[in-house]
Subunit: 203 residues, 2 copies
């Protein structure tokens, strides 16, 4: 390892895009290939999924349990245990997306929301960022799954969630990051700023 | 939420592949579109990246610090702070990949390794699984970056890593999951099984 501190700024790391083209534009995925200039002036190509971004929600029931989902994920060929999540629609605010996805997939509306942060789940080949939100003050209004969505709901205590992560049953990264945040928040280490949503309170 | 327990088995969630085709085959990314039969018999399509799998490494220095990397990630347009990681080569064992990537990117060889588990970072649209390995007994042998790789090394204490995660500076999911595992392991909650690697000890 170099003992020297990294040079100031990131010019020695940064790549500069030189344009590119769409490699594939499916119904769901758009894939691009861009030419880039590397920090040393050499050229390279970068291929990646263009993703609109997503939100993931930690829905906290009044008894402290977290509402999780069991959903078959075709690319990995198995049912995963995950917190609710979904893609942001064009022009949609992340919080609006979080409220929509929570209502659609679980039936819950929340009276308070807090944004934990944004995470990058595949930064080598996807533009996706996932905003992680916490939701509490949940009231059940009946869910309305999209056609073709098949999701079981499974509320778990923090201890149950922890045990299933330790055993490897929970392999979904956003759900593992949610566990990290949940425990940090509950032990007072990582604060959350809660805000009420008027529409949720009246709707 | 349905108050009833989910039906036994996952037949009510599982999708069945009906074949498909390659949508795009770039130099780096292969993207497929498959037709699937949904649990209710309806048809749908699934588009996803076919990924060989990856490993990520938590390199523990004898003084307790963790060796992190700063690397520009073109798809997200910024430098991320991440644990070392890389794609598995065809036919390569995950541990062999972990040793190779650690040596190439950081110059370290480790005398002991422990596998924490596998995580799925984009299960909606990628087959990727990331095996998370811990490495200790590190000895510096000089790194050998691939052409076109530009990586700073940054050893951080657990407290520094924690603070940078809390502030949002660390947004990479595998690194956040590594922090979760590191703290669970160090406080005795999630055990790791360590094994020596003879070649690493003599190499």
């Amino acid at each position: 390892m170099s003992a020297a501190a990294p040079p100031p700024g990131d010019a020695h790391l940064r790549e500069h895009g030189l344009g590119g083209r769409v490699l594939a534009h499916g119904s769901f995925l758009e894939v691009r290939r861009d030419d880039v200039r590397l920090p040393d002036g050499a050229r390279a190509t970068r291929e990646f999924v263009v993703h609109p971004g997503a939100v993931a929600i930690v829905p906290l029931l009044d008894d402290g349990r977290i509402v999780l989902e069991r959903q078959f994920r075709y690319p990995v060929g198995r049912v995963l245990l995950e917190i609710p999540a979904g893609k942001i629609d064009p022009g949609e605010e992340p919080l609006a997306c979080a409220r929509r996805e929570l209502r659609e997939e679980t039936g819950y509306e929340a009276s308070q929301w807090a944004r934990a942060g944004v995470v990058h789940n595949a930064p080598a080949y996807s533009t996706e960022g996932i905003e992680l939100w916490f939701a509490r003050g949940l009231v059940q209004h009946g869910r309305r799954l999209d056609a073709g969505e098949f999701i079981d709901l499974l509320p778990l205590s923090e201890a149950e969630l922890d045990a299933r992560a330790a055993s490897g049953e929970i392999s979904d990264v956003k759900t593992l990051v949610a566990l990290l945040w949940l425990q940090k928040w509950r032990n007072g280490a990582w604060p959350l700023q809660w805000a009420g949503t008027a529409a949720a309170q009246t709707g």
